[in-house]
C-alpha cells in the first residue's frame, strides 16, 4: 500500500509548502499491515504507522528519524508510550523503512536534521499513542460491554470501574478490528508520567556489548567489500589507471571504474584497501590544482571591503559608525571543518534486476532513495533503505547529492555483486562536504554614555544551499543570499538602533555542507565575540552589557541570567583564570555558556564549562544534558584544535593526528542547567555548539587581554 515516492517536481513543491509553514501528516492513520512489519505475528496490532503491539505485550515504536546519538530511539518512544499508557519496560523500537508516511512533518521528506526530530514529532508520536490507546480501550469496552468512557489505562493494561484488567497483549487481536479514531484527546501535561523524566536510553545495552549494528557492520550473503581511489583534488578526473599489480593481489575480485574514481572489490576490507593503495591512477587534476585556503581567505578579506547583499538593515549603520564616540573594527575568520564522525562513511548495496536494497547509516532516506533509484535505473519504490545505527552524523550523513549512497550503487552496478563500500578515515576526511570557511568583518560603535549605537557585519563564505534542492524552498533566488549562511547573524537579538547585515557569497569549488549547528557554528562565534568587544569598548561588564541590550528577549535573558548565576559570574577566580560568556539562539532553543580558562605558554586550557539551555517543553532531561554537553565539547574541539587547509589543491589534513578531536584529558568539567517552562519545544542536538567557541575566546581575553578573532585559537594570532 505504499504510495509512489514523490517525483522531484512534486518533492520540491512539497518542500516549499513545508517551508512556508504547512504541517503535513501531523497524524497519519494507517491501519495497514505493510511489508515492513515482516516480524509481526498475525496477532499483532498495528493501529498506525508508528506502533505495533504484540500479543506478547511487546510494544514496538517505529521511529522515522535516524539514531546518531541524539537519543531519538528513546525520546520519540517516550512520547508515544506516554499517551498509550504503555508499560515502559515493554517498549522497543525499530527504524522505519523509507515510505512517505514517515516523512518529516515539517520538511516533507524522510530525514533527520535541523535538531527537529523531537519537536516535530512531539504531537505526531503522542497522537499515534493516543490513537492506539483509544482502539485498545474500545476493544476492552466491547469485551466487557462497557462504556469506553468508564475505562482507564495504566502500564499497558485497560481497567474498568471494578478494577478488572485486560492487558494490551490480550487486547491486541480485538483492537486490530476496531475503527481508528478520527480525533483523539491528548493528556494534560500535568499528568505526564514519562515526558519530562530522565528515562534511561533504550539503545544503551546493545551499545555496551558490541551488538549494535552500524553500517560498517553489515554483512549480507555474498557481499564483498570495496575501497575506492578517489580524486586527490576536488574535480580531478581519472585519465587512466594501471591495476596490473592490484589485480593480482590476494582476495581481489574486481576493479571497476566508477564516476567518483576506481573501485577495488575484494573479499575483505584489508585486501581491498591494500590493493586500492597499489593502484596507479593518472589524474587529470582539473581547475582546482592551484587552490590554497591562504589565498582564499585573502580574497575573502578583499571581498569584505565592499558592500554585500543587504540581509537586514535598520537605521543608518554607516552614519552611526562614523559619528560614534568610540568605535572598533574586527575581522573574524573560521576554517573549513570536517564532521569526522567516529564511523567513517560506508554503504552496502545489493542491486538486483528489479530491486535495490541498501544498508547504511543515513540521515536522508527520501533523497538517498531517489538518487539511488536514478543510478539503479529502477522506480523509487523498488529501492529500500535499511537504516542502521549511525556512528555519528553531525550533518555529513544528510548529503544533498547522496554522495556515499550513489557511489555505492554505482559500484554494485559495475561489479554485479552485492558490495559494501568502506571509506578509510583519510577517504572520509578528504572527501569534501565540509563546514564552509567564513569571514565576518564587523564594525561597531558606542556613544559617549557607552551605549551600542552601530553594528555592521559583512559575511563572506560559500553557500551550503546553492545548487541543492533546498535552494528554492529557502527562497534563495528571491532573497539573493543563502539564509543558512547568515542564520544567527541576521537575527541578532541585541537592541542596537543602527544595524546592517550583508552577505557575500563566495564561489569556491570545495563541496560544503551543514555541520552541526550549520551557520550558527560561525555566526555564534563572530557575534558573541564582537558584542564582548563592544562591551569592553563601552567599559562595561560583558554580562551586564548583554543584559542591557536583551531587555526585549526574555528567553535570551533567561539563559544568560541562569548561566551567570550558576557559573558564579563576577566572583573571584584563582590567579591566571578568566571567564567568558556567550548567549545564542538556534533551532528554536536558547543557549548560554560560561567558560573558565587559563593560558600557559600559549596553550589554552578550558577548566570548566557551565551551560544553560532553554528548549521549551522537553522530553528527557538526561538526553538534553548529554546533547548540550556533547555539543559544547564538539564546539570546543573546533575552537581549540580543528581546521582544514588546502595547498596546491590538496587537503593538508588526513586523520585525527592532523585534525584533532578533544580528548578526555583536555575535557573541562561541564554542567548543564535546564530552564523550566512551557514554551513550545525546541531543538537540542545543535544548540549546545555555537556558544562554546565565543565563551572560550572571551575568557581568553579576560585572562590575557588579547582578542581571539580566528579559529582555531592560536595565541600567536591573538590581537
Amino acid at each position: 500500500m505504499s504510495a509512489p515516492l514523490l517525483e522531484r517536481r512534486e518533492f520540491l513543491k512539497f518542500s516549499l509548502a513545508a517551508s512556508s509553514g504547512l504541517l503535513v501528516g501531523l497524524y497519519i492513520p494507517s491501519g495497514t499491515k505493510d511489508a515492513f512489519a515482516q516480524e509481526a505475528s498475525t496477532s499483532s496490532f498495528m493501529p498506525n504507522a508508528f506502533v505495533r503491539i504484540g500479543n506478547d505485550e511487546r510494544v514496538t515504536v517505529i521511529v522515522n528519524h535516524s539514531e546518531m546519538g541524539q537519543g531519538v530511539y528513546t525520546a520519540l518512544p517516550m512520547l508515544l508510550a506516554e499517551e498509550l499508557d504503555a508499560d515502559w519496560g515493554k517498549i522497543g523500537f525499530e527504524p522505519a523503512p523509507v515510505d512517505p508516511k514517515y516523512n518529516h512533518p515539517i520538511f516533507g521528506m524522510q530525514m533527520t536534521g535541523g535538531s527537529s526530530s523531537v519537536y516535530s514529532g512531539f504531537e505526531q508520536f503522542r497522537n499515534a499513542g493516543a490513537a492506539a490507546r483509544a482502539m485498545l480501550v474500545a476493544a476492552a469496552a466491547e469485551k466487557w460491554n462497557a462504556d469506553p468512557a468508564t475505562l482507564r489505562t495504566d502500564s499497558g493494561a485497560v481497567f474498568d470501574g471494578a478494577n478488572r484488567r485486560l492487558t494490551y497483549g490480550q487486547l491486541a487481536e480485538a483492537a486490530a478490528k476496531m475503527k481508528p479514531p478520527e480525533k483523539v484527546a491528548l493528556k494534560d501535561p500535568k499528568t505526564f508520567k514519562l515526558i519530562g523524566k530522565a528515562k534511561s536510553r533504550l539503545d544503551t545495552p546493545e551499545k555496551v556489548n558490541g551488538k549494535a549494528i552500524f553500517g560498517l557492520d553489515i554483512k549480507q550473503p555474498g557481499m564483498l567489500t570495496a575501497v575506492i581511489a578517489r580524486p586527490p583534488i576536488f574535480g580531478a578526473k581519472v585519465r587512466n589507471f594501471d591495476d596490473s599489480h592490484a589485480r593480482a593481489m590476494p582476495g581481489v575480485r574486481k576493479i571497476v571504474a566508477v564516476p567518483s574514481g576506481v573501485a577495488v572489490i575484494a573479499d575483505s576490507f584489508w585486501q581491498a584497501k591494500v590493493a586500492r593503495d597499489a593502484l596507479k591512477v593518472d589524474w587529470d587534476e582539473g581547475t582546482m590544482s592551484g587552490f590554497s585556503t591562504t589565498q582564499m581567505m585573502q580574497q575573502f578579506r578583499e571581498q569584505a571591503k565592499s558592500p554585500g547583499k543587504s540581509v537586514r538593515k535598520e537605521g543608518d549603520p554607516e552614519g552611526a559608525f562614523a559619528s560614534a564616540a568610540r568605535k572598533i573594527e574586527a575581522v573574524y575568520e573560521v576554517p573549513y571543518l570536517s564532521h569526522a564522525m567516529m564511523e567513517p562513511l560506508n554503504c552496502a548495496v545489493d542491486l538486483r534486476a528489479d530491486s535495490c536494497e541498501i544498508w547504511t547509516g543515513t540521515q536522508f532516506q527520501t533523497v538517498d532513495r531517489m538518487s539511488a533509484a536514478k543510478v539503479a535505473g529502477l522506480p523509487a519504490e523498488k529501492v529500500q533503505i535499511h537504516t542502521t545505527y549511525l556512528g555519528g552524523g553531525f550533518g555529513r550523513r544528510a548529503n544533498p547529492q547522496s554522495d556515499f549512497v550513489v557511489e555505492a550503487v554505482h559500484v554494485a552496478k559495475a561489479a554485479g555483486v552485492p558490495v559494501k563500500v568502506i571509506w578509510t578515515r583519510e577517504d572520509d576526511m578528504q572527501g569534501g562536504w565540509y563546514r564552509p570557511a567564513f569571514l565576518h568583518a564587523i564594525v561597531g560603535g558606542v556613544d559617549a554614555g557607552g551605549n551600542a549605537v552601530s553594528w555592521r557585519s559583512r559575511l563572506v563564505g560559500q553557500s551550503i544551499m546553492a545548487g541543492t534542492m533546498f535552494a528554492e524552498a529557502m527562497g534563495m533566488t528571491k532573497k539573493g543570499y543563502d539564509p543558512a549562511s547568515v542564520e544567527g547573524a541576521d537575527d541578532l537579538p541585541y537592541e542596537i538602533p543602527n544595524l546592517g547585515i550583508e552577505s557575500h557569497q563566495a564561489e569556491v569549488q570545495v563541496p560544503v555542507q551543514w555541520w552541526r549547528s550549520v551557520g550558527h557554528s560561525h555566526t555564534g562565534f563572530a557575534t558573541e565575540c564582537f558584542i564582548d568587544e563592544l562591551a569592553t569598548l563601552a567599559g562595561k561588564d560583558p554580562y551586564q552589557f548583554r543584559r542591557d541590550l536583551l531587555q526585549k528577549h526574555p528567553r535570551h535573558l533567561g539563559v544568560l541570567d541562569l548561566v551567570a548565576q550558576k557559573s558564579g559570574w563576577g566572583k573571584p577566580l584563582p590567579k591566571g583564570r578568566g571567564r567568558g560568556i556567550a548567549v545564542h539562539a538556534s533551532f528554536e532553543s536558547y543557549s548560554a555558556q560560561v567558560a573558565e580558562v587559563s593560558v600557559t605558554e600559549g596553550n589554552v586550557r578550558v577548566h570548566r564549562l557551565v551551560c544553560a539551555i532553554d528548549c521549551g517543553r522537553y522530553v528527557n532531561p538526561g538526553i538534553i544534558a548529554a546533547q548540550t554537553e556533547g555539543g559544547a565539547i564538539f564546539g570546543a574541539s573546533a575552537a581549540l584544535f580543528q581546521e582544514l587547509t588546502f595547498e596546491g589543491g590538496r587537503l593538508q589534513q588526513t586523520n585525527f593526528h592532523t585534525f584533532p578531536v578533544m580528548r578526555t584529558n583536555e575535557c573541562p568539567e561541564i554542567e548543564t542547567h535546564i530552564v523550566e517552562n512551557n514554551e513550545k519545544s525546541g531543538g537540542i542536538g545543535e544548540p549546545g555548539v555555537p556558544c562554546t567557541a565565543p565563551a572560550i575566546a572571551n575568557a581568553v581575553f579576560a585572562v590575557m587581554g588579547k582578542r581571539i578573532r580566528k579559529l582555531p585559537i592560536r595565541m600567536t594570532e591573538a590581537v
Partner: protein
C-alpha cells in the same frame, strides 16, 4: 595459518599475517563489536585486550597475536554483567555508541591495574580513546561508579 584464542575460543585463521587483527576479528571472525575509526592508533575505537593488556587492533598485525589470548567487547561479559557495562548503563553513557566498545575495553584494563583510579589515572588510560559525541564526562563518572561496585564486591 595463524592460531590464537578469542574470548576463550580457539580460532585458526587463514590470512596474510600482516593483516591487522581488527580486520581479522571483523571480516574473518564476524566479531563486529570492535570498530574501525582511524587505522593508525589515533582514536582507540579498535581497542581489545591481548593477554589482558590494551591493544589497538587496527595497527597490530595478526601474526603478533599467534598463540595468545585476545578479548573483545563481545567477551567482556556474556550478559552485560561486567561492572563497567552496568555502570555505563546506569550513567547512560553512550550517544552514537560507536567508540564505546573501545572505551570499555580501555577502562577494563585501567580498573584491573588500578581498582581505585584517580582523575590522572583515568586521563592516562583513556586519553587514547576519542569520542566525537563528547561522552567523556559520563565515561569518567561511570568508571568511578564501576570502581565503587568492584570494591563493594560487585565484580565478577
Amino acid at each position: 595459518m595463524i592460531s590464537f584464542t578469542v574470548n576463550d575460543r580457539h580460532v585458526d585463521v587463514e590470512v596474510d599475517p600482516s593483516t591487522p587483527l581488527l580486520w581479522v576479528l571483523r571480516d574473518n571472525l564476524g566479531l563486529t563489536g570492535t570498530k574501525y575509526g582511524c587505522g593508525m592508533a589515533q582514536c582507540g575505537a579498535c581497542t581489545v585486550h591481548l593477554d589482558g593488556e590494551a591493544l589497538r587492533s587496527c595497527v597490530a598485525p595478526v601474526s603478533r597475536v599467534a598463540g595468545k589470548k585476545v578479548t573483545t567487547i563481545e567477551g567482556l561479559s556474556a550478559d552485560l554483567s561486567h561492572p563497567l557495562q552496568r555502570a555505563w548503563i546506569a550513567e547512560d553513557v553512550p550517544q552514537c555508541g560507536y567508540c564505546q566498545s573501545g572505551q570499555l575495553m580501555s577502562a577494563a584494563v585501567l580498573l584491573r591495574q588500578k581498582p581505585q583510579p584517580t582523575d590522572e589515572d583515568i586521563d592516562e588510560a583513556m586519553t587514547g580513546n576519542i569520542c566525537r559525541c563528547g561522552t567523556y564526562p559520563r565515561i569518567r563518572k561511570a568508571i568511578y561508579r564501576a570502581a565503587g561496585m568492584m570494591t563493594k564486591g560487585g565484580a565478577k
